[in-house]
């Protein structure tokens, strides 16, 4: 093959690279479904809001875990940081406007991400995993001890969040505003993450995940990139936490706990990491399943989830989306 006079942009490889960020035909579907849910299930909007927040949180984890390959078990540290930022500012009468509140939540979480990331990301593997866990435990304990500010074990409830745009009230009993608000926030954050992962920066994160040593050898400032990715992901997790606190008018130690951090990891693996929409599929599948299983078997519902996870871990390392992709590839072998 020699270079065509028009350059290489028509080569299949160049076309694949230039076309992968384009909107695919099915991509509006999850958003339309989310809107349809609003009209179809007005009684389940509380549950729906919780799912949307979880998707956002899982998306932030996908950026570090799925794209940059940073294995963390402490991502709830940033979720909790965002939630407590919103909660403390509102409860102590300092700030209760929701949108700017989210920006503050993102900033605080990003700062914690920066401070911890600079230290943590010198390590890898099991050490890194333990250190992320420790960071989260430290924050949780700090929130527990600073009782006067955080409400300690009881948390802060009845947060006086101002109406959205000065008009739409957050009503905990009829969370219609919350649902649409969280959906909008999720959309904005999703567009950001989607742009990021298809950019040259995102490509270099993928390079770090695939082969860190080689990234050093091509002259990439690996640690700086990882820290930056960690900070951005922390900010999004902070937004998820902030929006959760606003939607529930409530914040407690659970937002910072291992339970939340582990659940979001499970959700991402279940849906498929490094795939953007894995967060959507995983959150919906996990939470819907948890919801129905707990109704059918109130005492032993976690057993069902556990079995499902074992099956996924054994037979589908790329999660539900991985199964779908493999099926699509089998029917159209030259798609990618």
């Amino acid at each position: 093959m020699t270079a065509p006079p028009t350059g290489w942009s028509d080569h299949p490889a160049a076309r694949a690279l230039a076309g992968r960020h384009r909107l695919r035909a099915w991509e509006p579907i999850p958003w339309l479904l989310a809107l349809a849910f609003y009209f179809a299930f007005p009684k389940y909007l509380g549950f729906g809001t919780e799912v949307l927040v979880t998707i956002l949180f899982a998306l932030s984890l996908d950026l570090v875990l799925g794209y940059a390959g940073i294995v963390t078990l402490g991502h709830a540290a940033f979720f909790g940081a965002g939630a407590y930022t919103v909660g403390m500012l509102a409860k102590h009468g300092i700030w209760n406007e929701p949108i700017t509140g989210l920006i503050l939540a993102a900033l605080v979480a990003a700062l914690i991400g920066l401070g911890s990331g600079v230290v943590l990301l010198r390590t890898q593997g099991l050490t890194l995993l333990m250190l992320t866990l420790c960071t989260m435990a430290l924050l949780e304990e700090a929130a527990n001890l600073a009782h006067d500010y955080t409400g300690g074990f009881d948390g802060l409830d009845s947060l006086p969040i101002a109406p959205l745009l000065g008009w739409f009230e957050f009503n905990p009993l009829y969370p219609r505003t919350q649902y649409l608000y969280v959906l909008s926030v999720l959309f904005v954050c999703f567009v950001f993450v989607r742009t990021l992962v298809y950019s040259p920066f995102g490509q270099s994160l993928t390079g770090i995940r695939e082969n860190t040593l080689r990234m050093h050898a091509v002259g990439a400032p690996v640690r700086r990139r990882l820290v930056l990715c960690y900070v951005l992901s922390a900010a999004i997790a902070g937004v998820a936490g902030g929006v959760w606190a606003q939607a529930n008018a409530y914040v407690n130690l659970g937002t910072l706990g291992l339970d939340r951090a582990a659940t979001v990891l499970i959700i991402l693996v279940l849906g498929g990491h490094g795939r953007l929409y894995g967060a959507f599929v995983g959150a919906v599948a996990y939470m819907a399943l948890a919801h129905f299983l707990s109704k059918i078997y109130p005492t032993a519902w976690q057993l069902g989830l556990g079995l499902l996870l074992v099956v996924i871990a054994l037979f589908a390392k790329n999660g539900i989306l991985g199964i779908v992709e493999a099926a699509v590839r089998r029917h159209a072998p030259r798609v990618t």
Binding site: A3, H11, A16, L17, H21, S199, H216, A217, G219
Partner: protein, 252 residues
């Protein structure tokens, strides 16, 4: 300092505990050189490359590039100075396409990599250059394939392509034909012989056909120390070298 070689080491030493993997190595690589580094297994050849690229810090001694002391310069910055390498065992971005593998290196060199907004595929300059480079290595037909799907010999070519994407002035090839079945090894040889003249190449290899065909100068490393340096003819005729090394492989 016009006479300063492109890359030079003086009394370069590295100890791993009690083991001296590099013993006071004095070495010169001239601009545009074709230099081979040979020696028995465990002679410290890869350690020497790791020292030159900054992966391993020397215990003592200095490394100079164009007469400038770069001993303390970190790995990533040495790449910017023009030192690139390949690895003895493939270190590729296995789940990415061949084009993406080279794209990452080129994007890093031209400073596109920190960009967060434009889609990577729309950096036409990076894509064009990567494809051009793959074409010179006869890899353009494979550009869309996942690199892990390629035959091993062609994966070794991608190793070289990534290094060339950094536009090096010094290229360190650590056993480029290692693990390649003999039926395929000629493609590596061809590629190595057709490397741009202006790049100084240091090649480690056990394949004496390749070394003697390619190199203008050979350095023999034994137990971490320079045992002999000279032209291929001198090295081939050196009885000591034949005794310690060449005698072990089937070459008369």
């Amino acid at each position: 300092m016009t006479s300063a070689p492109l890359l030079e080491t003086r009394a370069l030493r590295r100890n791993f505990g009690a083991l001296a993997a590099a013993r006071d190595i004095d070495f010169r690589l001239e601009a545009g050189a074709r230099h081979a580094l040979i020696g028995p297994n465990g002679a410290g050849k890869t350690t020497f490359i790791n020292l030159l690229t900054g992966v391993v810090r020397p215990t003592a001694g200095v490394i100079l590039m164009n007469g400038r002391d770069i001993t303390a310069v970190p790995e990533a910055e040495r790449v910017k100075l023009g030192i690139a390498r390949t690895f003895q065992i493939n270190r590729l971005f296995r789940r990415l396409s061949v084009l993406e593998n080279v794209y990452i290196a080129v994007a890093e060199r031209v400073g596109a990599a920190p960009s967060m907004r434009r889609p990577a595929g729309l950096r036409r300059d990076v894509v064009e250059e990567s494809m051009e480079l793959l074409d010179t290595l006869k890899l353009s037909a494979d550009a869309a394939r996942r690199v892990s799907e390629l035959p091993y010999g062609r994966q070794r070519l991608v190793e070289i392509a990534i290094a060339l994407g950094l536009e090096p002035r010094v290229l360190l090839l650590d056993e480029p034909a290692a693990g390649v079945p003999s039926a395929e090894s000629h493609i590596i040889l061809d590629a190595v012989e057709r490397l741009p003249r202006q790049i100084a190449v240091l090649i480690i290899d056990h394949d004496m056909d390749l070394v003697f065909r390619f190199a203008q100068r050979i350095t023999v490393l034994v137990s971490g120390a320079v045992f002999a340096t000279g032209s291929p003819r001198e090295i081939g005729a050196n009885p000591d070298v034949r005794a310690v090394y060449l005698g072990q492989v089937a070459r008369g």
